[in-house]
Every structure is written in structure tokens, then in C-alpha cells.
Amino acid sequence: MSVLVPRSDVAEFRKRYKWMSLFVLSLFGAVAARLFQLQILNGDDYAAMAHENIIRKVTIQTARGIVRDSQGKILASSRTSYDVHVVPIDVLPSSVPEARLPKRLRGAPDSLPKVAEVLRVTPDEREKLIIKIREVCATYDPQARTSPCTRQMLVREDVSRDIITELEQHRDELTGVRVVATPIRFYPYKHLASHLLGYISELDVDALAKYRPDGYESLSGEERERLNPLGYDRRDRWGAGGVERTWESHLRGKRGWEKRLVDAWGKDRTGPAADRLLDPPSKQEPISGRNLRLSVDIELTQAIEKAMFPYRSGAVVVTETQTGRLLALYSKPNFDPNDLSGGGGRAKAREAFTRLYADPYRPMLDKTMSGAYPPGSTFKPFSALAALESHSVNPEATQRCDGFIRYGNKSRPLRCTHVHGAVNMRAAIAQSCNIFFFKLAEATTLDPIAKVASAFGLGQRSGLSINPEAGGRMPSRAWYTQHYGANYFNKGFTLNAAIGQGDVTVTPLQLAMAYAAVANGGRLYEPQAVVAIETSDGVPMQEFEPRLKNSVAIQPEHLQRVHDAMRDVLNSDEGTANALHDRSLDVAGKTGTAQPGVHPSPNEKPEIQWFRSRNHAWFAAFYPSHTPEISVVVLVEHGESGPQHAAPVAMQVIREYQRLKVTRASKAKP
């Protein structure tokens, strides 16, 4: 007997099977159509996306060029800075609730205390760090792909090598610590020549907006190249002053890239299969930054720093008279570009900037070219040359100096420094007699003086654009008419101008170039700081010849007269700098003690007011006086007296120049 029930009637279902089959076919048809769309119609797009997924362009870093002085000493290079980061969840697993902690960290001890100990973090800072980590880890979600709790956090920048070694030694106890090496600009001479070299700093918002405007990432390669040829990126540093800024495009170099195969976990894939998948071009070699060779002699700058030690503020320029190349460009107070360029970390840079900009002696100002000052008596040689050229004064004729002179109906007489008695032009320069020059100015009038001074580059930008250049001012009749109207001018302006006061202002750099021209027979050079561009291997790529700016037409015997007078400044018993006369040093120069012309603000601190009320001390010179090699200009800002404060500095610099020349020559011989 059958154990099974009788068969039931299946007639009810018969009509359905056809429809079911159709339904099945239509749904599978839809899937087939979708596959056709994905694989055939859009296959190329998806293949491209798939390719993009596995290719990463890895940036190849490049090194910024090295800056060397005339002797090959490194003034600016790069070093490695070690920044220490921590992964919050790894150093402080206790900040995440046990249930949400990844398995590998269950029961793991906090390594943060040890990290803090090795990094010499103060207890205060440590507490702050712990609070910060607790904050970012409080909301940690193990499901989320990224979280600030698993992202590395910067703890210390530019850590010393000792600490890095210590971190290495305790590596087992220090889970979650990451050391990241980044290149940092390094200035081995620190403060020396800081204004000349400048510093580097992070690109500001404006620069980024210029080089990487919105939508930059989606632009084509060519457009990006056009917009941002040097390839600036966020958080990049660039030259922000001095040679670093002006020569940025040469120093920077350009990053390269290399295509790598990377899987979804971020791991590199190599091997033959990888090579097959990489499409050419697979690499763009980086271009390393060019090296610069400066004309500056850092050892001479060292001597200047030493000579300027007693003074708070000032500038010294030393230039070669035959080429216009700068041997020293020194401004005081200066700054340590290492602090501003990221060495020691961002916080240190911020602190340094704040301090430097608040300093009343203005360390961030390059006083050699960004500041214009009344030249005082250092201007007199140019007045004398103007008088000689226009034959308005007989140089041998004497004038009487009673110590003061009255002009017109002015109640107050114009004063001289001393009662000089009868002086001719030579004596008037040597003894810096104002009365003589007043009379000379009266006879010569303003415009011929202005013409000669301008021809020597006074009151005109020199063309060395390393730092923003102040123009200075050499006023003429036309200038007064233009600025004050036709009836404003009076003879007093001419008299003041002749002794480098009134409206005359110059930069120390201008004065140095002008004195070099006086020394070399009238050839005014454009100042040069960079003499050559070299490849990173030291092969010269481009050398810069001296550039003559102007040849001043002055009769040689007139120049000779001025030279003689300037020698007397030191050599004659009555010379203003006779006290510094040195038989072994054949120096010609001119002292200057200039009234600042600007009154100190009553809001300043009393000592600053006192400082600012004092005269500027100048000394401008060339050496050796018969075969001039260098010209030296010293400005001790508010230094009071040219002969007493500026001239000794200049003499010391010249002495050092000579010493260096001799020792180097003797070294070179054998």
C-alpha cells in the first residue's frame, strides 16, 4: 500500500509558467542591459577610474639651493628637522572606552607619560596634551574610516638628535610615536648678514590665492604649470626677504613626481606586474635648486658685527670700488633667520616675529637700503665737486669762519662746529667747516649741486632690489617748486643741502656707491650681491659682470682735490678724524654728524626719545686712498658724533679688510 497521498490537481498552475518565465527573462535582461552599459558603453571610463585608483603620484622632494659667500663659506643651506607626532589612540588607549577600542590595543598601557618624559614635555603641557587627546578620542568610532583619534598629532617640532636617539632606544615602550623628517632652512652664521640673506616662511593666504586659486586641482597640467610654475603647495615655505626672496625662482628648484602602484591599503606594489600596469611617463625628475655665490665676505661681516658692538642701531656697507660688488651689507639690530624659517618650530617663529616687530630699534628694517637718512657732512665732497665743476669757487681762496654766520634778517645765526678761522676748500673739507660750505652754496646755487649729487646716485635707487629700497632725496629748485609752489624757495634750502641737511636724504648703500665712484674716477656702479649662479654640483651656470650705471664727467684734477682733502680728514692735524690716523692704513674719508630732522614722538619711552633726539654719526671712506679698492660707509644711527662713533668702526673694518687680504694672499701662495 502506498504511503503517499493521492496526487493533487496541478491544472490551476498551468497558465502561470509562461508569465513566470517571461518575468525571469525580463529581470535578467535588465541586469544584462546594465552590464552592457557598465562594461561596453562606459567601460573605458570605468577602466580609467580603476587605473586612477591604483596609481599615486608621489612627490619627489627637491633641495633648496645653497648660498655661499665669496670665500665659499655656506651662508644658507638646508638641514633635516625631526618633528615628533603621536597617534592619539596608540599613546593613550585609556582615552577610548574599552568596548570601542580596537582589539590590538585592549589592555595596552598608555605610552604618553613615557613619550612626555623623553620629549621633555613640561607637566603643564602634558596635561594639556592629555586633555586634547581625550577630547578627540571621546567620540572615537571604530567603524569610521578616519578619526582625529587615529590621525597623527604634532607634539614637538625640530627635536634635537639626542632626543631622537633616545626615542629610538625606547622604541618598544613608545607605541604610537612617529618621527617625521622635514627639510629646514639653516643659516650657520645666524644673525650675521641676516638682512642680506633674508629668511623663508610659509606662503601666506594671498600668495596661495594667486598660485592656487579655487579649482586649481581640476585644472589641466599645462594650466597649472602656467599659473604656478614653481609648484607651490599649501604649507610650502618660500623666500620672504633678502636674497632668499629675490632669488627665489633660482633657489627653489622644482619638485618631481613618480607614479607608483598603490593598493587600497596605501601599500606600494612592485614587481613585473606592477611595471606592466604603469603607463608612461612614469616619472618626472625633480630639478634641484640653484646655488648662489655672493660677493659678500662673511668674515668681514663678522668684524663689522664686532666693531658695531657698542651701538644699538646702524648700518655698514662695504663695496669694491672697481666693480660695485658688495663685500658687506650690514644692518643693526639684526635677527636670526633660523628662528623665522621654521627652525625650532612654528611657535618659535611666531614668537620671534612678534618680538622683532615690537623692537623700537627696528631689527626687521634693512637700514643699508630701506632707510634714508640725512647724510650731513659726508655730502660735502659732492658740494665741493659741484662748485669746482661750475667754477663758482676758487678752491685756493680762503673764507673766514667765525663760528656763525647771519643770512638775511633771520634772528638766529647759522652755526658752525668750531671757529675755524680762514679755511680754503681743502681745509674746509678736512675740518668740516659749515661756514665755508654755506658760502660755497651761495655761490654755486642748488641745481648744480643737485646735478652732481644725482649723477653720483644720491637720492636715487641703486638697483639692488634685495630688500625694498628707499629712494632718498636730492632736492632741486624744480623739486621745491613742485612740492611747495613757486614762491616757497629760499636760499636757506641751498645752504642746508650743501652740508647734507634739510631735505637731502640718502641710504648708506647709495652713499657707499657714490664714494666708490668718487674713488674710482667717476664710474658709478650698480651694487651687486650675487656674482654667480651655480648648479647644485657647483658648476657655474651664469656669472654676473659688474654693471656700470653712470659715468660721471668730472675733471680728474677736481676729483684729485677732493681726494686730497679727504686724506687730510685723517692725516692733517686739524682733520676731524685725525685721532684715528694710522700710518699703516692709507684711508681717505669724510665724517658726518647729521641732525636727524625728525623729532621723536612724545609717546615713546623716555630712553627711546633720548635716543632718537641724538644726531646720526656717519663716516664714509675709501681705501687705499691712492689705489682705491673698497669704499666703506658706516652709519651709527643716533650715534651722536661721526668722528667719535662712526669713524672708529670704519677704521676697524678697513683694518680687518686689509688683514684678511694679507692672510688670504699668504695662504694662497704656497
Binding site: S2, R7, V10, Y46, A47, A144, D263, A264, W265
Partner: protein
């Protein structure tokens, strides 16, 4: 005639070679694809193709027994099996272990299984038994459908609570598929349409959990949150599309080899296959599925009784809906619901369920001829 002779004879004369070959080809291609899919994975994932083979062998033997016993014996135990299934579903909440936020697994010693997978088969059995007994000459009304609806709703509700929307969906679709065989009044169909039109949006706005809603949202905005919710769908589409016409070749698909595809052994084996073998391979695979499903309809059509026909439709719909939902979600036609690709995805419980479904199909298919009836009834 001995039983042994009749069994052999039946095997010889009635063995469904089409069903067997289609299923076998699918299983073999599936193993080969698993090998490719997990070739770069870390241990123990890189050995799942071996385990899949063990499962196929073990499941194949079990399937042999299931196919050998006349399916009409199962009819008697239909509700009992269904009841046992419900009990295991309840046990999940008591003994179940939580994996990825939902409890689907029961562990018997070292072996874990998902009761919800086997529930699909038990539901087919129970519904087939109900349909078998419920022969009618005129169309059914809403009231007539209440009982089978209840049979389907009970396990579906338990599965929704796990929560496992994908399986619940398959249970519901199996129910609808078997329902589609029945004669239903036109008016009732209208009522059902209205009911669905109200229930589905209502469930979507109130019944779905946060992550389920997020999946729908992600599906509607395929270009958003590619790093998160849309990672799998996005990279799945890229892998499929990158296969183009002929594919990259076996184990050459970069998106899988470079770890961009996740769950490539469970829910996403198809993108691996489509990237390796291109449109040509994908279409061939699709053809095998179509053949398998259409053949199960053919088996139903030639079944001798209502139970066998309903069994075949139920088993066939199980395979069909799994395939459609899996392919739909990996191609972006449907949101992500965790539904495996039959015989392609690795998975003990789900693989075994599909193999048993095929065994039931084989069972029905082998007993459509008169020989079997005579042989069995004359014992």
C-alpha cells in the same frame, strides 16, 4: 523488483542532467572565482575556496540523500520542519552571537550556522504543503490568502528583528512567487496592490533602522560618501566596468588584486568575475543563471502534483531572487542588501541552502515520469 534496482533505474532514466550540469558548472566557476577573489587576501580568507569545495562535497552528498527520498514524504513533515525552523530563529536571540551588529548565527560547538538561511527552505516546504492542500477552482480572496501570508510573515518578522532585511526580503519574495502560481480574484489583486503601496513606504520610513536607511540614501546618491557607505557599490561598479568586453584575465583584475573590493568572497564575488572575464564572461554567467531558473520553472510545469510544482517554484524562486538581488546590488541597480550569489558566494549555510534547493528541484524532476510513481507505489 528490488528497491535498489528501481533506484538505479530511476537514476538512469530520470536523472536531470540539465539541472545537474548547470548547477555543477556554476559551482565550479564559483570556486575558481573564489580563488581569484581571495588570492590576495590574508589568511584564513585566502583559503575559503578550499572550504567552499569541502562544503560543495559535503552538501553534494547530503543533497544526494535529499534528492533520493521521494519529495512527497517531505510533504508530511512540512509544518514540523517549519516549526523547527521557527524555534531556531527564536533561539538566535537567546544563543546567537552578534556579528557586525546583528545576531544571525547559532553555534553548535565549533560549527556555526544561520537558521535564517535554512528557514527559506522550510518556508518553501510549508507553503508548498499549504498550496498542495488548498486546491480551488475559483479565484482566492484576501481572506483565503491570510493563512499562507501568516506562514510567511512569522519567520520574516523574526528575521527582520535580527536585523537581516535581505533574508526577510527573500522570504517575502519566495512567498509572492508561490502565490503567483495561485488563482487569485482580480479584485483581491487590486487590494494587494494597494496594500503593498501603503506598506512599503510606511516600512521604509518607520520600520527601517539607521544603517538600512543610510544604505538606501547611499544608493540614491551614488557619488556621495564614496569613502564610507558608497565604498563597496562604487568600487564594485568600477571593477565591473573596468572588465570591458573581454576582461583583464584570471586573477588580473586590479580592483580586487589591489584590495579595493571588500566582501569579495561573500556578497561581492561577481565584480571580481566581471573584472576578470569582462562582459563576455558576465553574460555567460548570467545565461547559466537564466537556464537554471527557467529549468526550475520547467520542472514545476512537469511536476505531477501541486506539492511538487510549488516545491520547484519555491526552490527556483529562492535561487532567482538571490541572483537578481545580488547582481542588482553589485551593479548599482538596487541598494545594498546582504544577499549572496547562489553557488558563487562563499558561505556554509547559504551554500548548503542553495544546494538543498537544487536537490529538491532534482527530486521533483526525477519523479515527474510515471515510472517513479509506479515503482514507488508498488513497493
Amino acid at each position: 523488483m528490488s528497491t535498489r534496482d528501481t533506484l538505479l533505474a530511476r537514476l538512469r532514466d530520470n536523472f536531470d542532467w540539465v539541472l545537474f550540469v548547470t548547477a555543477s558548472v556554476l559551482a565550479m566557476v564559483g570556486v575558481i572565482n573564489l580563488y581569484s577573489a581571495t588570492s590576495v587576501a590574508k589568511a584564513p580568507l585566502n583559503e575559503v575556496y578550499l572550504q567552499q569545495i569541502y562544503w560543495l562535497v559535503g552538501g553534494g552528498i547530503l543533497s544526494g540523500f535529499v534528492a533520493a527520498v521521494d519529495y512527497r514524504h517531505y510533504e508530511r513533515y512540512g509544518y514540523i520542519a517549519y516549526g523547527v525552523g521557527l524555534v531556531t530563529l527564536v533561539l538566535v536571540f537567546i544563543l546567537g552571537r552578534e556579528v557586525n551588529g546583528s545576531s544571525r548565527w547559532i553555534y553548535l560547538g565549533p560549527i556555526g550556522f544561520q537558521p535564517s538561511e535554512f528557514m527559506k527552505l522550510f518556508l518553501v516546504l510549508a507553503l508548498a504543503k499549504y498550496v498542495n492542500a488548498d486546491a480551488r477552482s475559483e479565484g482566492r480572496t484576501l481572506k483565503d490568502l491570510a493563512a499562507p501570508a501568516f506562514i510567511a510573515a512569522l519567520p520574516a518578522a523574526l528575521v527582520v528583528l535580527q536585523p537581516d532585511l535581505g533574508t526577510a526580503l527573500i522570504l517575502g519574495l519566495i512567498f509572492i512567487s508561490i502565490l503567483a502560481m495561485l488563482r487569485i480574484q482580480r479584485r483581491t489583486l487590486g487590494h494587494l496592490a494597494v496594500l503593498v503601496a501603503i506598506a512599503v513606504p510606511a516600512f521604509m520610513s518607520f520600520g527601517m533602522l539607521g544603517f538600512q536607511q543610510k544604505r538606501i540614501e547611499a544608493w540614491l546618491n551614488p557619488d556621495r560618501d564614496i569613502g564610507g557607505m558608497n565604498w563597496d557599490p562604487h568600487h564594485s561598479r568600477i571593477a565591473i566596468g573596468a572588465g570591458k568586453t573581454w576582461g583583464a584575465g584570471f586573477m588580473q583584475g586590479t580592483q580586487n588584486q589591489f584590495h579595493f573590493l571588500h566582501e569579495q568572497h561573500s556578497d561581492f564575488p561577481f565584480p571580481v568575475f566581471a573584472e576578470d572575464w569582462g562582459f563576455a564572461g558576465a553574460l555567460s554567467l548570467l545565461f547559466i543563471y537564466v537556464l537554471l531558473v527557467l529549468w526550475s520553472i520547467h520542472i514545476a510545469a512537469s511536476a505531477k502534483d501541486r506539492f511538487g510544482a510549488a516545491l520547484a517554484i519555491g526552490a527556483g524562486s529562492l535561487i532567482f531572487w538571490h541572483a537578481i538581488f545580488n547582481l542588482g546590488m553589485v551593479t548599482g541597480l538596487l541598494p545594498i542588501v546582504g544577499v549572496t550569489l547562489p553557488l558563487f558566494s562563499y558561505g556554509g549555510s547559504s551554500g548548503l541552502t542553495v544546494m538543498l534547493a537544487i536537490a529538491l528541484l532534482m527530486n521533483v524532476s526525477m519523479r515527474r515520469s510515471s515510472l517513479s510513481t509506479i515503482a514507488f507505489s508498488s513497493r
